[in-house]
Amino acid sequence: MLTYTAKRLAMAIPTLLIVITVSFFLMRVAPGGPFDGERQLPPEIENNLRAAYHLDEPLPMQYLRYMGNLLQGDFGPSFKYKDFSVTQLILQGFPVSLELGGLAIGLALIIGLPLGVIAALRRNSTVDYMVMGIALGGIAVPNFVIAPILALVFGVLLAWLPAGGWNGGALPNLVLPVIALAIQQIAYIARMMRASMIETLGSHFIRTARAKGLSERQVIWRHALRPSMLPVISYLGPAIAGIITGSVVIEQIFGLPGIGRYFVQGALNRDYTLVMGTVVFYGVLIVLMNLVVDLLYSALDPQIRYDD
């Protein structure tokens, strides 16, 4: 298992390299630069600034310099938040994003799994159609539509919850963004759990369990649940990636000081180093999470053993 983990990590290096390279050059292709603003800087000052950040060098040189610094763990300084390094900004924003994302995934599992199971057990009933209808809606409506609606209805019109802001992570401030982030994942997980549960219930070993004389409850709890959850477990990797990209939008809409907001603002401001820093961070996170999910899978399914 250790060798397997090491192998997977080694295989992640080319993936990350491609992600970093593509984002680096894409960023530079976008028109404008970090020092364009409403107030035009005098050319001498701008030139000095550019020289200070090595932006006057040819692009390949800049690329090599960036990669060199990255290897030493240095994400470089932010162009916009001048007193902060990118590393500091990420470390500042990460706890916020982690809390938000973790709660969203948790909520998605707590609600999505039972919904899927209920729909599967009451297959082709009104309950099933209702759950699946709502799930379809959850998938069809993107979170950047759901989030403002939630903020408008519960934050402004009903005024039950704050419509935005972090407030040090107070619970009322968390409710709406977490729900907005989780809805799509709830829908996916419920649908997946339903399909997988139906498949499991039709399998031969469930017939064996019934032939043993077990009650329906025992059949489901002991024999059907765990195998049905396996596909959902392997979906958690992509789900985490989805939550991360979703949080970019959600943090912006609810004005939360997470990494996602730095990412958006960095992109708008052409804050090259900040955007690159978040991209690398996200990339590493997604790779690691996928690995964790695969290891988790092997812990749940004895047929999968990583021994080399």
Binding site: F205, T208, K212, R226, D301
Partner: protein, 534 residues
């Protein structure tokens, strides 16, 4: 005679489907006495499995069951679901056709056996563990102390079926329903499982309802037999009488469908068509970037010559390498050794150089459902090879060849516009043969072409294969695990085991005077050895 253990009267099972009601079992009546083995025999779709599943009340909810089924004092069709659950796994238990998938893949086998003991006997802990070990020992699992902690995927198919038997026998049932318990297993394993069932039957004094499509098994295993067809019992009685003096036409037809006849040997001077020497095929198990990769050798140095017009049969159990050898000979798989086909050395030809030769060597595979593209019409399937090998043919000529090929396999040419799912298994296999024949090949690789078919359909396909062989002077390499079919079709036979040839000789010699122990074991397991005939 004493009162029967199980008495079934006028059992009727209807499936209520959106498209209407389908009656799968229609007025079936029979009874089983204590300690007796009764066989329910029939071809696919005869309703034999539905009957047994209905007795266990394991059918889906949209089925309607009527009639009566009494197990001792209990009316199985009337008691509450809760009472039924008390019967299942305790007084009456069942083993199934699919040993590979009938056990929960995520639970250790010990736990799966102990579960029944807990459910019906309230046994837990040490006491249950003791009984589990005892059961594993009784069903012949080696090293039960270690195996009890195994997961199903760590066991072979035969061992898994043994575990299923242990689960079924844990509470010493009065009746065991065995639904095709050996169909998915190799013949030698089948023989072991059947012997085990007989042995346990005597020890526990239970009755067995044995469901099978295999008449040979019925003859050796059951005291009484009911022959089913289209949901009805057409004939029943004690096995010896039914086999010797069948009353119903259908029974007679089934008995006649057992493969028979032999193929005359080919002139020893007939020209060689395929010569292969020292064929080896290996598959990587573990690839390493540095150091030696590990390989599994599936075929280990086989030499084989086939003359024009000959049928060489290859028999062996699963994993013996017989299909791999077949594919290697046609260069569908990379191999070592040399192969000459029709006086051309094809050992080192690459894909494009092989292509013109492909029209002369064709293949028919086992799975009549998976090997025809579901999105192509029968005509398109058959003509695809023509488009590759004879691109110059016009539309009309191609049509003419398709029609000719379909007629050759006795299918109505009008069927060429239909899709594979509209055909039965036997018809699909005819389509697959037509697809091969349309290119006018000299050599056909037949890889278990009849294994998925009912005996009566199998017989017609065998007859067809014989006929087209004669008509076109075809050469066959016939791969099968079914000894009876191989005997009926081949003039030379190769017995394979673990990638090597165990015995090689004329069909006559192999089946009547086998030399090697393994060949003898195979024949005995298939009830084909001369000791049995005597």
């Amino acid at each position: 005679m004493s009162t029967p253990l199980l008495e079934i009267d006028n059992l009727q099972v209807d499936f209520r489907l959106p498209t209407g009601t389908v009656s799968a079992v229609r007025g079936v009546s029979f009874s089983i006495h204590e300690g007796e083995t009764m066989a329910l025999v029939g071809e696919s779709g005869s309703g034999k499995s539905v009957t047994s599943t209905a007795l266990m009340r394991l059918l889906p909810e949209m089925t309607h069951i009527s009639g009566s089924a009494r197990l001792g004092e209990q009316e199985l069709l009337k008691i509450s679901p809760r009472q039924m659950r008390r019967v299942r796994g305790d007084e009456m238990s069942m083993i199934f056709q699919e040993p590979m998938t009938s056990l929960n893949p995520l639970h250790r086998i010990g736990r799966q056996i102990a579960e029944v003991l807990e459910r019906h006997r309230g046994m837990t802990g040490q006491k249950a563990q003791q009984r589990v070990l005892e059961l594993l020992r009784q069903v012949g699992i080696p090293e039960p102390e270690r195996r009890v902690r195994s997961y199903p995927h760590e066991l072979s198919g035969g061992q898994r079926q043994r575990v299923m038997i242990a689960i079924a026998l844990a509470c010493e049932p009065k009746l065991l329903i065995a639904d095709e318990p050996t169909t998915a297993l190799d013949v030698t394993v089948q023989a072991q499982i059947l012997a085990l069932l007989k042995d346990l039957q005597q020890r526990y004094g239970m009755a067995i309802l044995f469901i099978t499509h295999d008449l040979t098994l019925v003859r050796h295993f059951a005291e009484r037999v009911c022959v089913m067809r289209h949901g009805e019992i057409v004939e029943s009685g004690d096995t010896a009488t039914v086999f010797e003096r069948p009353q119903h036409d259908y029974t007679r037809m089934l008995l006649d469908a057992e493969p028979s006849g032999t193929k005359a040997a080919v002139d020893t001077q007939a020209p060689m068509l395929l010569e292969a020497s020292d064929i080896r095929v290996r598959f990587p198990i573990r690839k390493r970037l540095f150091g030696r990769s590990e390989y599994f050798e599936a075929v280990r140095g086989i030499t084989l010559n086939i003359r024009r017009g000959q049928t060489v049969g290859i028999v062996g159990e699963s994993g013996s390498g017989k299909s791999t050898l077949g594919r290697a000979l046609l260069r569908l798989l990379e191999s070592q050794g040399s192969i000459t086909f029709d006086n051309t050395d094809i050992t080192h030809l690459d894909k494009s150089a092989m292509r013109p030769l492909r029209s002369r060597m064709q293949v028919v595979f086992q799975d009549p459902f998976g090997s025809l593209s579901p999105r192509q019409t029968v005509g398109e399937i058959i003509s695809e090879g023509l488009r590759v090998h004879y691109p110059e043919l016009g539309r009309r000529e191609r049509e003419a060849r398709i029609i000719e090929a379909l007629q050759e396999v006795s299918l109505d040419p009008a069927m060429r516009r239909r899709y594979p799912h509209e055909f039965s298994g036997g018809q699909r296999q005819r389509i697959a043969i037509a697809r091969a024949l349309v290119l006018k090949p000299r050599f056909l690789l037949l890889d278990e072409p009849t294994s998925a078919l009912d005996r009566s359909v199998q017989m017609t396909v065998i007859r067809l294969l014989r006929e087209i062989q004669r008509r076109h002077d075809l050469t066959y390499l016939f791969i099968s695990h079914d000894l009876a079919v191989v005997r009926a079709l081949s003039d030379t036979v190769l017995v394979m085991k673990e990638g090597q040839v165990v015995e090689h000789g004329t069909s006559e010699t192999i089946f009547t005077r086998p030399r090697e122990t393994y060949t003898k074991t195979l024949l005995k397991a298939a009830f084909m050895s001369s000791e049995h005939a005597a």
